[in-house]
Symmetry: C2
Subunit: 488 residues, 2 copies
Amino acid sequence: MFSDIKFNKEVPVYIQIKDYIKEMILGGMLQSGEKLPSTREMSSIMKVSRNTIIYAYEFLEDEGFICIKKGKGAFVCEIHVEMQEKWNVNWKTLINDYARASESLDIVKHEAKWKKGMISFKSIAPDENLFDVEEFKKAFLNRMSIEGEKILNYGYAQGYRPLINYLLKYMKNKGVNIRGKDILITNGFTEGFDIILSSLTNTNDKVLCENPTHNTAIKIMKLHGLTIEGVDMDADGINIKKLQEKLEKDKFALSYFIPSYHNPTGIVMSPEKRVKLYKLLKKYNIPIIEDGFNEELRYTGAHVAPIAALCGEGNSVIYIGSFSKVLFPGIRIGWILGDENIIGYLESVKRSRNIHTSFLDQAVFYDYLQGGNFEKYIKKARKVYKEKYEFAIECAKKYISTGQVMGEGGLHIFIKIDGINARKLLDRCYDKGVIFTPGDIFYTDNKGADTFRLGFSRVNKNEIQIGFQIIGDEVSNLIRETMEEKNV
Amino acid sequence: MFSDIKFNKEVPVYIQIKDYIKEMILGGMLQSGEKLPSTREMSSIMKVSRNTIIYAYEFLEDEGFICIKKGKGAFVCEIHVEMQEKWNVNWKTLINDYARASESLDIVKHEAKWKKGMISFKSIAPDENLFDVEEFKKAFLNRMSIEGEKILNYGYAQGYRPLINYLLKYMKNKGVNIRGKDILITNGFTEGFDIILSSLTNTNDKVLCENPTHNTAIKIMKLHGLTIEGVDMDADGINIKKLQEKLEKDKFALSYFIPSYHNPTGIVMSPEKRVKLYKLLKKYNIPIIEDGFNEELRYTGAHVAPIAALCGEGNSVIYIGSFSKVLFPGIRIGWILGDENIIGYLESVKRSRNIHTSFLDQAVFYDYLQGGNFEKYIKKARKVYKEKYEFAIECAKKYISTGQVMGEGGLHIFIKIDGINARKLLDRCYDKGVIFTPGDIFYTDNKGADTFRLGFSRVNKNEIQIGFQIIGDEVSNLIRETMEEKNV
């Protein structure tokens, strides 16, 4: 007894001893009233200093596991862990429809998984090697010295005021009129969209969006019991005529669009189309939720204002912003910009969900941004991703030449090959060590079986070349086999 | 023009210049095609180095606001901010019942607000002055050097694996059998409770709890459309007989309890009562949600196991843990411990809500905890809060002697004074610069008008003395006036 303790290097020794003895007490190996070896004896059994044992005993006493009687020694307390009969609940029958749907729509759980050594085109997360960790550390230390310990205590549901002000100015610099508007900080786009739908829609409401569109948005809309009406896209984005037809026919609670480097197609909606879209929705008075996704990576030679900039002092567009596809997605910071009255309600919903987004993260992020790091970073990131994008397009044209290649930049391209089944293709490529995202998950109407998305942000040029070549070969094989089957 | 720019010290000068020119372009003061002063001219107008101007122009070009033509100069691009007609949506009519209820149940918005100079007994947040910021900084730097930039990229919905493992062991050390169980990291208790109710209840389900109980829990249950059945409490916690009566009469989907330093009463449920409660709920097969609130601050001389420890390998108790009432609430980290199958569903719900809790915060928190800082901190915190608690009890008995004082430690006490209206009392005290939480917000049945909660974690002894004296005086005044009214 006691001499079999094994120490690791990560945790202070006195804590390991404390936990070890606690475990013996809880496990019944040490009984109530039993005397522990003296600190001197224990120190020689465990081969650690006597002070370490004294320290461990002190903590054990603090936590109510032993009583130290002066001159008599340390005794195990009466511990009330009277194990009761095991009681099992059949939780599976208690899980409700919402949780079941969350699970079944959870692509992380149900799509093919990356394995070590594979080339993955699944991710459209930023390449972390571009992150400037040293500047981030500086921002942390600087902000800690300014804010001190209070930044680790509770903050406010709306967010960290300096960050809100920074983002208001940031949005103003995109051409958005911020008068009468305000910002709520959220845990990324996902929470922003979820809070908006939670607050502004009711089950069975109809929502307009592009078809295909962001898979997470589809998931959240489905979880809210909404009817999703996707509008087909042309090579330059949403088909305005089809949009108009839908608007004439039906009533919609909201509309949701991704105007820049649209997910999954990579299409940037032109300024002219943005105006047409805006005017049409205005005519039918259907509020717009604009997803600012990837806007930061845009490099077209001329500034293109978000849709939110078109309504001036009007309040009809709610903009969801996030740097997660560009910078530090792990800290989960996004924002909602909208009418200040709406933000007031969304703030209360946010408070009822999780009180607020980490104030530490918000403060450090603010410090990082306002020091000018973001501008420098984005300059570098745009250059790197642009190069990769151009190389990906080149390889796609060379190796996957039968496909229609979409995407004008950003972090991914989208491919459609008539007559091919992308899931069959994925199975084949998976065996060859290449993985990508089948396009059907982005469609609102079970279409898209012949499409797939290739994210290139976290692969290098070599991987793009090899991976695209493998995909191209398997496309050819599949097409040849289909032809042969037909001829038989 | 240009010479009226005013620089602040916080933001790099080239960014201020960039934003200033951007604003002029977006505001129409600089028109498309207009030529900007040369970098040399601008440098003399703005009184900054020419390099700064060159840098600012480069960024303006990157962002698509100006075009630099070699040998000719910098020209404003054609900017597409065609302001459209203002379009206002009447959002107030679109806000749904859930958001309206969130707002109306939001006590931050509707309860009396603290003003500078006031003595506030509202808060039961930890005293940030106890936080060991230097150790936290060390944990940050250490974890950053171990994890590097990848900790800033996307993580996993379930949480940061080392933290999950740490907490599993932590729960095991409380006597909980963790076999077949798992942990989901959440943004604090609030998110944990919300995710559980979202996944396991349906509108109009009945939920059992103590009466009074945690106000945020009541809010979340109401927002889920649940019927709340509160069971009255005695001086030593929930009345088991009344609990049994309710169980005999009705079917309940879930039950929710706060066994340690109960909010708001401060009562610790005895080990015997925990066993009785457990057995009774087992008999009726009503799963238990245990709120581990303030458990870490318990100092009774003997370890008291959480209810979750009573069911051994059974899965009938879901435990929600959080250190937020003790340590770093601003980073919003809590956890749910439960049956591993349930955790799988809750993980998908978490992913659909906000993908995951900040990985940076989880990693730093883990580093802080595993280094043994938590044990040292909690030792110090227990001592400080115990002293304050004892002083608060002393003052309550002295100055508010007509009241029944509840609370056995933790961060607050609870007072009931027959015949007094706590909101009237609050109004009076507010005028005298003292603020506290009226007790009615904790009741599930509109009772508690004669109760109030006094949090003492963030006030000093002097404030406790002065504040309690003021409350006591106003209690006496109110009672005297009521007597006089009756006599008139």
